[in-house]
């Protein structure tokens, strides 16, 4: 009888060694707390819930401590999570998300006032500002490039580039990019107020004209050809973005466009969010480099906002009265669509309750998506 109980207790003890309680470290506790905080932000504060819920839950999934060797963890070859993570590591999910973004984006604001495109270019300064600081802090060239792209404020682009340049930092970069995208309403307004005068904030812009379907169709085709001819390495992102947009604007592929902007982007968002979250295993994630990435991410958003706002102010020097642009739309050059455009609107309304900047800000906002994909292509060309 005694040996039987010994047998039971031995196996019970052996089983306990396999539980998460036995394998838990302080790092796992910290990461689970971060995951819970993300879920709280998403549900209670409604900060980017579509992204933060999957990522937050993914962090919980990735930080359930386990005994290695049983094909459970995301980094263990053959595990289900590892198969799903394949799409992140090999840059498959981001272009599919771009297809959906293209199918849901209306480029009318941009087409009706093409000079707004240039703001989307100026705001990419954040990428290269962060790149320079990262180099100065001792990150390698590839790591610095991958970190810099956080300043593009575009999650799929950041994941795409990080998977190519610094896959080991992918989790930290993706989490940082999405966190700051959610925090755009907190980060950008102080910079916008600091750089603009009261008079500038009251500038009214001409309402955008109506854009015909043929113009939109030409935009999708010409946009793809022009940008990818200049930066072919940005083709996976730009090609899919404009393809999605053509599906939308052609008017004859409604079903495909609906799928791209609906079920397909939802499926890919779930997979990318969950796996990126799960990739933040405490054992690989909690390093000084990750902390540095978060600090650089914040800096890149500030520099990007600075670049966009200052560019509008400089351009205004050359524009006639009546054609001037409100510098409060400069922040929207970062491609956090549509949050940064919404920030322009909210800050603008604080100073003039009847001055609606949302439509104008959507121009640089979608140009920012194109700009950050082009910038990613440039970094890939030089650093891969």
């Amino acid at each position: 009888m005694g040996t039987f109980f010994d047998f039971i207790s031995d196996h019970l003890m052996q089983f306990l060694q396999f539980t998460a309680f036995a394998n838990m470290t302080i790092g796992h506790v910290i990461m689970i707390s971060i995951g819970l905080y993300f879920i709280y932000l998403a549900i209670a504060k409604e900060f980017e819930p579509m992204l933060l819920v999957p990522i937050g839950f993914g962090i919980l999934v990735g930080n359930v401590a386990f005994a290695p060797g049983y094909q459970i963890g995301i980094y263990e070859t053959g595990s289900v999570l590892n198969y799903l993570y394949f799409g992140v590591l090999n840059g498959i999910y981001p272009p599919l998300i771009f297809l959906g973004i293209g199918a849901m984006t209306d480029f009318s604001a941009l087409i009706s006032n093409p000079k707004l495109i240039l703001i989307g270019a100026a705001a990419q300064l954040g990428i290269f500002g962060a790149y320079s600081i990262a180099l100065a802090l001792g990150y390698s060239s590839a790591e610095a490039g991958a970190i810099g792209i956080i300043g593009g404020a575009d999650g799929p682009t950041a994941i795409f580039l990080a998977s190519k340049l610094a896959p080991e930092l992918l989790g930290a970069i993706a989490i940082s990019a999405y966190s700051y995208m959610a925090l755009v309403p907190v980060i950008q307004p102080p910079v916008m107020r600091l750089l603009t005068t009261h008079k500038e904030r009251l500038i009214r812009m001409k309402p955008p004209r109506v854009v015909s379907r043929i113009e939109k169709v030409i935009f999708a085709i010409a946009g793809m050809l022009l940008t990818t001819f200049i930066v072919p390495s940005g083709m996976p992102l730009l090609g899919m973005l404009f393809f999605g947009n053509l599906l939308r604007e052609s008017g004859v592929t409604k079903r495909l466009a609906d799928t791209a902007k609906g079920p397909m982007i939802d499926v890919v968002t779930i997979l990318i969010g969950l796996t990126v979250g799960a990739s933040t295993q405490a054992t690989t994630f909690l390093t000084l480099k990750s902390v540095g990435i978060f600090a650089l991410g914040a800096a890149s958003f500030v520099i990007a906002t600075f670049g966009g706002v200052m560019f509008v102010k400089i351009i205004n020097l050359f524009l006639k009265e009546g054609n001037k642009m409100n510098p409060l739309i400069g922040n929207a050059g970062v491609s956090a669509v549509p949050d940064s455009a919404r920030v322009s609107q909210v800050v603008g309304l604080e100073y003039d309750k009847t001055n609606h900047l949302l439509m104008h800000a959507m121009g640089p906002n979608v140009a920012g998506v194109i700009g950050s994909a082009v910038a990613a292509g440039v970094l890939l060309s030089f650093l891969a």
Binding site: S112, F128, A222, L226
Partner: protein, 299 residues
């Protein structure tokens, strides 16, 4: 309809003409394969898969994708370009990007697909031909002053010049120096990222500036076309645009409509039923039939 079909056929014909015109372009294919290193006199150097010291030929894939050598020909006699057929359908003949493949020139083709039916001892030249056996992919004239156990090859894969090499490296790069990535080279020249910022911002601005220029002009064109279309023709009498009674602009009307829409949406309860005039199809199924689900009265 016939006109459309005619246009379509014309388009196809033009496309075929263009494609036939560029038929000679073979980017990213067997035409990117290059001889890279050979060992003619192998006395005590590397051994083949049978442990024999054979002569060998190394081929390098300079394409940016995998290339299948299957179906190509290797020869030491230009008058007989199809002397050795590299077998088709074998996954081992696929050379990945930036990788190498080695053939043993031992005149013993029965030993396997990588053993050629000629050797290099008396060979003056070797050549690689495409699967048609007519197009030469690469050719190497072998100097007759070969040294024992010393390979003859390119110092680095991208070079054109051949020389005797200090290291024997079948199936690997001939360049023994540590690899520096493009990124590392870039940072060596630009340690603070200023050059990168300047180049990259220039490229991003150029790409978007081109879009800007095109769309500015395209926009003007469409606006002009819109104005021209709205102008009445000379025969028509000019009618005054209908004035809104209250003098309100379309924007104000749109804002009022939007406000009403939002107001109505917010004050109404959410309704999950759908009112439709379509016929609701209820296909018969015995599983849902009433007669099978109701208990019959006892008689």
């Amino acid at each position: 309809m016939q006109k459309r079909i005619k246009h379509f056929l014309h388009g196809i014909a033009v496309l075929l003409l263009i494609v036939s015109g560029i038929g000679s372009a073979n980017a990213q294919s067997v035409f990117d394969l290059r001889f890279n290193e050979i060992l003619v006199l192998n006395d005590s150097s590397t051994v083949d898969d049978y442990g024999q010291h054979s002569s060998w030929i190394e081929i390098y894939n300079s394409a940016y994708n995998s290339v299948n050598l299957g179906g190509c020909y290797l020869t030491d006699d230009l008058s007989n370009p199809t002397k050795f057929l590299i077998p088709k359908g074998n996954p081992k003949t696929v050379v990945p990007y930036n990788q190498f493949i080695v053939f043993y020139a031992d005149s013993q083709p029965t030993k396997g697909i990588f053993h050629l039916n000629f050797n290099l001892r008396n060979a003056k030249t070797i050549a690689l031909f495409d699967p048609s056996g007519t197009k030469k992919i690469d050719q190497l004239d072998i100097p007759q002053t070969q040294q024992v156990n010393i390979t003859y090859g390119k110092k680095i894969e991208s070079a054109q010049e051949w020389d005797f090499l200090a290291l024997t490296t079948p199936g690997a790069t001939n360049d023994p120096s540590p690899r520096i990535t493009e990124g590392e080279k870039f940072v060596k020249m630009d340690p603070y990222g200023i050059g990168m910022t300047m180049i990259a911002m220039f490229v991003v601005f150029s790409a978007l500036a081109i879009l800007y220029i095109i769309y500015k002009n395209l926009g003007r064109f469409f606006i002009r076309r819109g104005v021209a279309a709205s102008k009445p023709s000379s025969g028509e009498t000019k009618t005054e645009p209908k004035q809104d009674e209250d003098g309100m602009s379309g924007e104000v009307n749109a804002a009022i409509a939007m406000a009403l829409y939002l107001y109505q949406n917010e004050t109404h309860d959410y309704e999950n039923t759908v009112l439709t005039i379509n016929k609701v199809s209820r296909n018969y199924s015995p599983w849902s039939s009433k007669i099978y689900t109701l208990r019959k009265l006892p008689r």
